[in-house]
Amino acid sequence: MINSNSSRPYFVAAASIVTAIFTWAMASTYLIPETLLPHPFDVWDQAVEMSDSGLLWISIEASVWRVFWGWVMGVIAGVITGLILGELRGVDAVIGPIFEFLKGVAPISLVPIMILWFGIGEFPKLMIIAYITWVVVTVSTATGVREVPNVRLRAARCLGMSQLEVFYRVILPSTASYVLVGMRSGIGFAYIALISAEFIAVDKGLGFLIMDSRMNLQTPLMIVGIVSLGLLGSGSQLIYDVITLQIPWLSRFRRL
């Protein structure tokens, strides 16, 4: 019975999913109008049809492009500001609180002003995604620098390292794990920003697909959009995990 015990969670999970899909099918057939809750098969047909017509892939491509470049810009900017904030106590005391404030400003609230300033091209969307990633990565990088153990700094100085050497050989490696964690949670926030931007102003992408389907009351389309967005989000984090864990000089920093 020991072996069956280890596979038991999978059986329970499978039973749970089957029950859920069955309940969904029953509810949509007998209880809830189809415009509110379409039948699971209808949703599946919709997904297949969209995949065949290419609409799904065009939307995914547009969204992934935005998220990726926005995120990359945000990470680069965030690491730089984070290092500055963490290293220079005086700057941190003055600028740090501004970042605490910015963290609370939802990316979606910036969409209208970005549209006003930069129009409805790709640039404002990238800016919004980069903005929230920047804030998240900055905060975690600065925390990492601040929490470098004092023992390490003293040891480095005892061994006669110069200020610059301490920065490269002690502070950067000690901070790396915080940066990696910040980058990972930045992915989640980048997707939130992506949907926010695509809901309000865009011509293609998954967010647009979801919003558009609401106008036309195409609920299966909406569900396909939401599910692909979820899969894309968790897929991105999975890819990030695989990459950072596979590269040897990065994986040793994934302790947090």
Binding site: P9, A13, A93, I98, L229, G233
Partner: protein
């Protein structure tokens, strides 16, 4: 070295407003980029008629109602999932799925189901709080030191009473930090929901500013959001340190 430690945030605020003013001056048109003085004037006009407080109050109310319902339900599910492997296996697929789907993506769905109603907004905040709390409570329960449970067992506290007297209190710091996370995400969701369908609230104020080409309103909205989340976050932390030092996360160090 100048000693700035204590007054840092004040200098920060001065710097922030100064940069804002300089930026606005260099752009030159308040119709594109209003400076802090213009925004303050606009805020004063809104505050005088009480309109501002109506919007801010509506946002806060939505946040508080959704959180107040979502937190206990989410924490209960999370504790149950942490304690029972079968329950965990049963609910885990949905928690994973929901966790990778941002609540903002569900706004059109909520509006479809519940219409443009107060209930739709409550349900979105509820969803966010429920999910975050389920995850953090589960993590808290599974990370209770094994030694502590063993010790309780030795002292005769077993089974269900060990669950309530040892495991739940031990997971409290995780639950509290979950509430903090949920508050931050909750603000984002409320605003998004208000921007996509509401007749009041700070998110509506921002959309109104966009429709009327009045960036002052947008800036009032953005600024209020930052202030509200900062105050809620700091206030919550302060309450823990002051009234429940036992559960303070800082004690971990």
């Amino acid at each position: 070295m100048i000693r700035i430690g204590r007054w840092g945030p004040l200098y920060g605020a001065i710097l922030f407003f100064a940069m804002w003013q300089v930026g606005a001056d260099s752009v030159g048109t308040p119709l594109l980029f209003p400076g802090p003085l213009v925004v303050w004037e606009g805020f004063w006009r809104l505050a005088e008629t009480g309109e501002y407080f109506e919007h801010a109050g509506a946002t806060l109310q939505r946040l508080i109602v959704g959180m107040a319902v979502g937190i206990p339900f989410g924490a209960t599910l999370g504790c149950a999932m942490g304690a029972s492997r079968d329950l965990n296996a049963w609910f885990d697929p949905y928690v994973r799925m929901a966790n990778s789907t941002p609540a903002i993506a569900l706004i059109p769905f909520a509006l479809l189901w519940f219409g443009v109603t107060e209930f739709a907004r409550y349900s979105l905040v509820f969803y966010t709080a429920f999910l975050v709390l389920a995850l953090s409570a589960r993590q808290g329960v599974t990370q209770v030191p094994y030694l502590r449970i063993k010790a309780a067992n030795t002292l005769g506290v077993v089974g269900i009473s060990a669950f309530f007297r040892v495991i739940v209190p031990s997971s409290f710091p995780a639950i509290l930090s979950g509430i903090r996370t949920a508050t931050g995400l909750g603000v984002m969701v409320v605003v998004a929901a208000e921007m996509l369908g509401a007749a009041n609230g700070l998110g509506f104020l921002i959309i109104l500013g966009r429709q009327n080409y009045d960036p002052t309103l947008i800036f009032i909205g953005i600024f209020s959001l930052g202030v509200i989340s900062l105050v809620l976050d700091r206030g919550f932390q302060f309450c823990i340190e002051r009234f429940m030092p036992r559960w303070s996360v800082k004690r971990r160090v």
